[in-house]
């Protein structure tokens, strides 16, 4: 198993390196120079000279690439031109929002998707099956931003002043003026420094986790209320894909001989379905869950834009508008790394689910 992990890790190094180079090249061919884009009206020849000097833009491109790769190896993603702070720092600030959003979206997608799939497969061609698959077909077809806006309209405009009302479009992450304590503050660890502090700050920025860990339940509830609609909008496409995959995979497994044998020896339908069927049907489902992470990261750009959540997606969009290639580079590399790691975890879980994979 360890050998398997190491081999997969080594195999992802060239991919990551290639991704880094592609991002670098892409960022350099963006038209318009970063200087005029950043300084705007204040830009003139002298200032641009200084600017280029400061950000190393005067070096020849190969030299820039070399510096870039060397910095990358030491986790230095450069300093953002627009936000004026190190990209790594910016990432640590914005990531929690996106992680939180995608986490809840994925939880929704897996729970609802698998339930729909299992129910459909076990009552094949019934009304429930047809209905679930209609939901699934509609779910993969409705654009994230349309669904987000429709949900926003229903729950924050139409149902306003009812108990079902939820914060909607451009609502942000918390209600206006909401005050709360960060985890270091609540735990009296304000003087703490180093990596532990970074981790605590990261967790603090995931408001639902912060609320639970520091027993600020009003924070948890407010944050969750702000997350429901974005998570629903973002999670619907993976939910639909998971539902369809669970159904078809389960149907295939239930047609196997060993399932017939299990039935023949008189096991209950429920046990056959879950122990013999579902466990073996999980492999393709896990694959689509892994693959849908990429879609979630893409969708996060749209969801965060609509709901005004300051996560990585919104930051990418803002940086592209400001031609802040340092941030674009950093975020793209980071997203690609996340993606590669997720694929790695997916592969590893095959070994966990199916002993046969471990052998090869």
């Amino acid at each position: 198993m360890i050998q398997f992990i190491v081999r997969r890790l080594l195999a992802s190094i060239p991919v990551l390196l290639g991704v880094a180079v592609i991002v670098f090249v892409l960022a350099r061919v963006i038209p318009g120079d970063p200087c005029t884009a950043t300084l705007g009206e204040r830009a003139n020849a002298q200032r641009c000279e200084q600017f280029n000097e400061r950000y190393g833009l005067n070096e020849p491109i190969p030299a820039q690439l070399e510096i870039y790769l060397r910095d990358l190896a030491s986790l230095d993603l450069g300093t953002s031109i627009k936000f004026g702070q190190p990209v790594t720092e910016l990432l640590l600030q914005r990531m929690p929002t996106t992680v939180e959003l995608t986490f809840y979206a994925l939880v929704f997608a897996i729970i609802v998707g698998m339930t729909l799939g299992i129910v459909s497969a076990s009552r094949r061609n019934s009304k429930v099956d047809v209905g679930s698959m209609m939901i699934a077909n509609l779910g993969v077809s409705i654009p994230v931003f349309v669904l987000g806006l429709v949900l926003g309209f229903v729950f924050s405009v139409m149902l306003k002043d009812t108990p079902l009302a939820l914060p909607g479009v451009a609502a942000g992450r918390l209600s206006a003026g909401f005050r709360f304590e960060s985890i270091p503050e609540a735990w009296g660890l304000v003087d703490l420094d180093g990596p532990l502090r970074v981790i605590l700050d990261f967790l603090s920025n995931m408001y639902t986790i912060n609320g639970l860990l520091t027993l600020q339940f009003d924070l948890f509830i407010d944050a969750i209320r702000h997350l429901i609609l974005p998570a629903l909008a973002l999670g619907t496409i993976p939910m639909a894909i998971i539902a369809r995959m669970t159904r078809s995979s389960l149907l295939e497994v239930m047609g196997q001989d060993y399932v017939r044998t299990a039935r023949a020896k008189g096991l209950r339908q429920r046990i056959v379905l879950f122990r013999h069927g579902l466990r073996n049907a999980m492999l393709p489902v896990v694959t689509v869950v892994g693959l849908s992470i990429g879609g979630l990261l893409s969708g996060a750009v749209l969801t965060e834009t609509i709901f005004g959540l300051t996560g990585v997606g919104l930051t990418v969009f803002e940086s592209i508008r400001a031609r802040d290639y340092v941030v674009i580079q950093g975020m793209a590399v980071m997203v690609a790394i996340v993606y590669v790691v997720v694929n790695l975890i997916t592969d590893l879980s095959y070994g966990f689910l199916d002993p046969r994979v471990r052998q090869t």
Binding site: G18, N137, V144, L149, F153, V169, V301, V316, F317, I320
Partner: protein, 317 residues
């Protein structure tokens, strides 16, 4: 389908192989029509194509010109609600089925002409991606060795990015615009078709009939056109049909973010992107283009799924 018929020039009647192909063709059509999703998908698309073709006939107002100066002044207000005479809208008020948008354009005309724009986007984008993907996949499959390795690893790297994010990066390089957004989405889609093509080439490369064709002196181009591509057509059509839905969706997403189609082009994503801040007082400007977009994507997805089930007997129920 490709039925050969005798004509005045004395072309041969369909015999043997051609007749068999004809038979296979009809049975494929029967299989497609026996899939309920495919039939629903086809009906949706037929409806959309009709709307797109008859756009000029259906609409009264110009999709790219505001109604200021055409309608009485007191009614030509931005984001006016829909007015349908049958539903009790006063007769003296000009009829706008879907209301007016922020630029005082007739929303109905824009949604209807949007069908033209979106269908065009879908077919052109996917067509381009398929052509380039086929080319890359064919080279990789034929050449093998390091050429194959380099090309396919590069394709893998493109796939290592979430699609929309990569498209956003590409559009910033090219600059915002409808054509630029379509190029970005096409580039992002290329790896899929390159893979399909490559596996088709690998599948037939060692087959007897290809070896025979080569022995008869056919060059690689001729083998590619006459032996390989016809064999890869089925997965390409299935993949392409599903791909059109995705392409329409992704171009709309770019346009929504302001990176794709620019006004006054009636593109649904862009129409929604410009008005979503007015969701509270003008929901019709989100609802109608959103519905149109969903319907289009649904149509292609249902048809694509149906085609896949029809062509892949293993999945037959």
């Amino acid at each position: 389908m490709t039925a050969t018929t005798a004509d005045s020039t004395g072309a041969p009647l369909p015999t043997g192989e051609a007749a068999a192909a004809l038979g296979a063709g009809t049975s494929v059509w029967r299989r497609i029509f026996s899939q309920r999703p495919a039939v629903i998908g086809l009906s949706i698309l037929a409806f959309l194509f009709t709307v797109a073709l008859l756009a000029d006939v259906i609409t009264v107002y110009d999709a790219e010109r505001s109604v200021i100066g055409i309608d009485p002044r007191e009614f030509a207000r931005p984001r006016a609600a829909p007015c349908i005479h049958l539903l009790g809208c006063p007769a003296e008020q000009p009829q706008h089925f879907m209301g007016l948008d922020g630029g005082v354009y007739d929303e109905f005309s824009r949604v209807v002409f949007g069908a033209r724009v979106s269908l065009l986007i879908g077919f052109v984008t996917v067509g381009g991606a398929i052509l380039i993907g086929m080319f890359i996949g064919a080279i990789a499959g034929y050449a093998g060795g390091w050429v194959d390795n380099v090309l396919m690893r590069f394709m893998d790297m493109l796939l290592a990015f979430p699609a929309l994010l990569l498209a956003i990066v590409i559009v910033t390089i090219l600059g915002p615009g409808l054509v630029e957004a379509m190029i970005a989405i096409a580039v992002v889609a290329i790896p899929i078709y390159a893979r399909v093509m490559r596996s088709s080439v690998l599948a037939v490369r060692g087959q007897d009939y290809v070896v025979a064709a080569r022995a008869l002196g056919d060059g690689p181009v001729s083998i590619l056109l006459r032996r390989v591509i016809p064999n890869s057509l089925t997965p390409m059509i299935v993949q392409g049909t599903l791909g059109i839905g995705t392409a329409v969706l992704e171009v709309a997403a770019l346009s929504f973010l302001g990176l794709g189609a620019q006004p006054p082009i009636p593109e649904w994503g862009q129409m929604i992107g410009r008005e979503y801040n007015n969701l509270q007082n003008a929901p019709h400007l989100i609802l109608f283009p959103g519905l149109a977009l969903t319907l289009t994507v649904l149509g292609f997805n249902l048809l694509g799924d149906g085609l896949r089930d029809a062509f892949d007997p293993r999945l037959a129920r």
